[in-house]
Amino acid sequence: MKPAPFDLVTANDMSEALEALHQGGTEARVIAGGQSLVPMLNMRLARPTTLVDITRIPELSRIEAKSDRITIGAAVRQSTLERWPDLADRLPLLHAALPWVAHTQLRNRGTICGSVAHADPSAELPLCLIALGGTVTLRRRRKTREVAARDFFQGMMSTDLAPGEMIVSVSFPARKPSTGYAFREVARRHGDFAIVACAAIARPDGTATLAVGGVADTPRALELSADRTDLDDRLNEFAWHLQARDDLHATARYRRDLVRHLGLATLEEALSCRD
């Protein structure tokens, strides 16, 4: 299992990266940590003719913390965010979710934005981005745009990224006062992709968001009002709405059960940890 041949451009700044991506068009791909892309290359599920390495562009390695949002550059590794001293305080959902992302050996190389770009429906980081209502900043030669997470993820491993375009950063809304955050996951082994993963946010006014990954072709969010008398019915409807399918990891019925039970447990945890 070796990658098909490709040219490798190691960009020193943004203009070099964007020029190489423009020239490469649909045949060019960005590589940063490579923890999702290199397996695809090794198995020849992806055969780009140009790879553009963006890890040496200084501005992409920044974590920028503002009062309302945390912006994470495209070359920031998962382990770097995991060790960011303000993580538990500013991004409690990611603090809970990151230990579930693959294994430490992969988080040492893999990037936050790379996982978002790969858009695996079972991946934890796209789920967190959907749950929190984050955004993705995309750039090509003459255009920069910011896309909401719910519009960015279009299907299984399919996103709004255009040819010649790259993710420069993702932004997560920062922790708000008196709001609870929780993350839970069921996988065959810790570190595997999730069979079902749940992220919940409980607000001071009693409203809540439950987002679920691993079932539909993208992570999906359910908005809940403060009146939770019909919660079981809402969760049941949501579980069916996700159109789970049987695969070799789990049956559709098991996934629906997980949405109902793990979803409820995650919501309850988020509601109880509002401070």
Binding site: P3, A4, F6, L8, V9, V38, P39, T104, Q105, N108
Partner: protein, 168 residues
């Protein structure tokens, strides 16, 4: 902007176990293959080649990482450490010593990767608890020894590194 063309080999420079090396490889060459085929450092094993098994784990700038998921060209300027950088057969490190004493390997195929992960763990966290050891080991597959002796060896090594008794 340097473009490394696909049909040619291009130099890449890094340090391997503290010694500077320079090899010529094509852009698609994986770090595993550069180490084994170009340099002849065959201590790093190749298992699944998609990041799942952990056999090829090396240290990149002190942190464990999969050599099969890294292009050799991405190692430019990095400090790479492999199992050859631990002890020699007549002077094992405490970690290797503990693996021998606790029968923590049979076929040995997974061992090089596991040693590199545990060596990095104890450098960062010399008092790592069993939970942290198991968490680090979860990134490795062993199909013959079973994990109990490996965990025992890791605990013993930790105690020895800390200066305590070898028995966990």
């Amino acid at each position: 902007m340097p473009r490394l063309t696909k049909d040619d080999t291009h130099p890449v420079r890094f340090t391997l176990n503290g010694r500077p090396v320079s090899v010529r490889v094509s852009p698609r060459t994986l770090l595993t293959d550069a180490l084994r085929h170009e340099i002849g450092a065959t201590g790093t094993h190749v298992g699944c080649e998609h990041g799942v098994c952990g056999a090829c784990t090396v240290q990149v700038d002190g942190e464990p990482a999969r050599a099969c998921l890294m292009l050799a060209q991405q190692a430019e300027g990095c400090a790479i450490r492999t199992v050859e950088g631990l002890g020699k057969s007549d002077a094992l490190t405490p970690l290797q010593e503990a693996f021998r004493e606790h029968f923590a390997l049979q076929c040995g195929f997974c061992t090089a990767g596991i040693l590199m992960t545990l060596d990095a763990l104890f450098s960062r966290q010399p008092d790592a608890e069993e939970d942290a050891i198991r968490e680090a080991l979860s990134g490795h597959l062993c199909r013959c020894t079973g994990y109990a002796p490996i965990v025992q060896a890791a605990l013993a090594a930790r105690n020895r590194i800390k200066g305590g008794p070898i028995d966990a």
